[in-house]
């Protein structure tokens, strides 16, 4: 009996948890909608960030490559979608062409950046990727003259939503008497994508490639001596992370209907990295928690700070926007101070840390 249980896949062992999570996932967009569609959009962003953070987790958590320019690939995916499905160039290609294309182009950018730089040691790689992210953003901001490619700081508007035949993700549809709004539809699409990236993360972790990543993280010289072509294996992680970023960017474009360089600042890269580290690097549930918290916290603060100040002092003492970012920064510092391995680290990492502290 015990043997049988061991052989069963985790979801068979924890079927109750799976059902519960499924119910919660189904209910979220409808419960959120009670507070207005804005809350559904926030839920959508939380899931989009889960997707992005788990994509970055492959690069940072598994392969141990510190990528501070992840947002560049997100931007590439978003602009590929925006340029090929908007009135800007008058192109309206279907999403099933552009999303994979966006992923492929992001992947190509990842390889172009990674091939010459992945031999650099950690902190140098961090600053190079950071620089690359800035280069991409500066180009997006300025490539409106002499040829208007990106429309500069104004960004690109009227981007097509994802559409399958007559079924558009932007409109409200009524199914069995239940109104399902545009954001709610994107919610389910995003959940599907997130489940996909979770499966990819889980399956890669215990695979030949996943072990090679871990080996490189532990001791690169020994990994080479074992016959691992470390450059190619790192490049693989980098390219995979970039592709996920590209897909996320495409969905972001379609969902928002508008992109501008402002969405792809360094702060965005840092936020995604913070999700990975804050949650618990390399540990999938931790990364998911990190993504949800860091998306929700600023929103909760946004809706909480003004009324709170109002109630306490009867007026705004401190600019709510700064206070919000201040608390956000402070909570990052505090979490790292008291949970250096993240909020929900893998049991193994927790042990490592406990041992190194002794």
């Amino acid at each position: 009996m015990n043997e049988q249980l061991k052989k069963a896949a985790p979801w068979q062992r924890h079927w109750l948890a799976v059902v519960l999570i499924g119910v919660v996932l189904l209910a979220v967009p409808f419960v959120a909608a009670l507070g207005g569609q804005a809350w559904v959009r926030i839920a959508n962003f939380a899931i989009l960030y889960i997707f992005l953070a788990l994509g970055l987790n492959i690069v940072v958590g598994y392969a141990g490559l510190l990528d501070l320019g992840y947002v560049a690939f997100y931007a590439v995916g978003a602009y590929v979608y925006a340029l090929l499905a908007s009135p800007h160039f008058g192109l309206h290609l279907p999403f099933w062409v552009i999303l994979p294309l966006g992923a492929a182009i992001a992947c190509l950018f990842g390889m172009l950046l990674g091939a010459p730089t992945l031999k650099l040691r950690g902190d140098y790689l961090a600053i190079v990727t950071l620089g690359f992210g800035e280069i991409i953003r500066i180009f997006l901001n300025n490539l409106n003259a002499p040829i208007n490619v990106t429309n500069g700081a104004q960004g690109i508007t009227l981007i097509d939503p994802i559409r399958i035949g007559d079924f558009s993700f932007a409109d409200t549809t009524t199914i069995f008497g239940l109104d399902i709004s545009g954001p709610q539809k994107y919610y389910f699409l995003l959940v599907a994508l997130a489940i996909m990236v979770i499966i990819v993360n889980i399956r890669l972790q215990n695979s030949r490639v996943g072990r090679a990543w871990q080996a490189i993280r532990e001791d690169e010289v020994a990994a080479k001596a074992c016959g691992i072509n470390t450059r190619n294996i790192k490049l693989l992680a980098f390219a995979m992370g970039a592709s996920f970023g590209g897909v996320a960017g495409g969905v972001f474009s379609a969902m928002q209907g508008f992109v501008s360089p402002e969405s792809f600042s360094l702060m965005e890269s840092i936020t995604i990295l913070a999700m990975v580290v804050l949650g618990g690097m390399g540990h999938i549930p931790g990364v998911i928690l990190g993504a949800i918290l860091l998306t929700a916290l600023p929103e909760v603060l946004r809706y909480g700070i003004e009324p709170l100040q109002d109630a306490l002092f009867g007026r705004m003492i401190i600019d709510p926007e700064s206070l919000r970012m201040l608390i956000f920064g402070l909570s990052m510092v505090l979490v790292m101070r008291f949970r250096p391995a993240g909020l929900w680290p893998s049991p193994q990492r927790r042990r490592e840390l406990a041992e190194s502290a002794n």
Binding site: F132, V333, S356
Partner: protein, 307 residues
């Protein structure tokens, strides 16, 4: 020809500032291997404090140079205290934590400082009151001001002072020893905690000087100014080989000159396809190219794999 000379002069000024900020990054990195992301914010606070002091003394009837001097001094002292507290409160408890932990803390601190600055000094650009009369000098078709002369001279003096400190004093020796091998240094009686704290304090002092320079050169300040400045300066430090003081100085000046030249010539180089808005990408492109060929920076030691 006159553009070339002009851009070289501007680049040298900017480079002197980068070099001072880069030293702050490199000292901390050389000793504890941390990218102190909040350093750019320390520089910004330095500018802001100097601004406040200068504005509040402006009507006091003191001689302008004295006001400037007091502003600089107070700004240096405030930043030193800030650097010290940063290390004490945010980084010291994290020694021995996973590598990325202090990095996230640094990013968090940077957000905190930025927003504290915004709460204190507002979200708009602040204009520096002109304290000294500007003199413009002409040389071979190019111009430079007395402010530029003052910036470059002051930067050179400060850097000479730092070199003296690191190579000729007990503290400097302790710092070099700690950078080489913290364990051995502590066995030899070096107080590691003090050395690390001093690296932050000295780096912040240099940052404050740089902050005052930026303020008086551009005559404006903004709560977000530390970010790009810090990024460029860090790039300069990496360019020179991070952990290497001479490298940071050279990297800073080199970066300033490259940026100025790039901004001056990019239109010509690309047939007006790219304009001077692209000034900011030079730093990063140069960085990527240099690291491709010299993975440890221009003056960094080659650290080969050890078996």
């Amino acid at each position: 020809m006159d553009t070339l000379l002009q851009q070289l002069i501007n680049g040298l000024t900017l480079g002197a500032v980068y070099a001072l900020v880069a030293l702050g990054y490199t000292m901390v990195y050389g000793i504890i291997g941390l990218i102190n992301f909040a350093h750019g914010e320390v520089v910004m606070i330095g500018t802001m404090v100097a601004f406040t002091v200068i504005v509040s003394l402006a009507g006091s009837g003191m001689p302008p140079l004295m006001i400037l001097g007091i502003g600089l001094l107070i700004s240096v002292v405030v930043c030193m205290a800030l650097g010290w507290s940063l290390e004490r409160v945010a980084y010291r408890p994290l020694r021995g934590a996973p590598r990325l932990t202090p990095l996230i803390t640094a990013i968090g601190m940077s957000m905190v400082l930025q927003n504290v600055a915004m709460i204190i000094w507002g979200r708009n650009y602040i204009t520096f009151p002109p304290m000294i009369e500007k003199h413009i000098f002409h040389i071979g078709g190019a111009t430079f001001t007395n402010v530029q002369v003052a910036i470059v001279t002051l930067a050179a003096l400060v850097m000479l002072g730092l070199i003296y400190l690191v190579h000729r004093t007990r503290l400097g020796m302790a710092m070099r020893a700690t950078a080489q091998n913290p364990q051995v240094a502590s066995l030899m009686g070096v107080d590691i905690n003090r050395v690390i704290a001093m690296a932050f304090v000295i780096g912040s002092a240099l940052g404050a000087v740089a902050g005052c320079m930026v303020g008086s050169y551009y005559e404006i300040a903004h709560y977000q100014m530390g970010f790009m400045l810090g990024l460029k300066a860090f790039t300069a430090a990496v360019l020179g080989g991070i952990g290497n003081l001479a490298g940071a100085m050279a990297g800073g000046i080199l970066l300033g000159v490259i940026e100025a030249l790039g901004a001056g010539y990019i239109g010509q180089l690309t047939g007006d396809f790219l304009g001077s808005h692209y000034q900011d990408i030079f730093a990063f492109i140069v960085l990527i190219v240099v690291l491709m060929f010299r993975p440890s920076g221009l003056f960094g030691e080659r650290t080969g794999d050890r078996a």
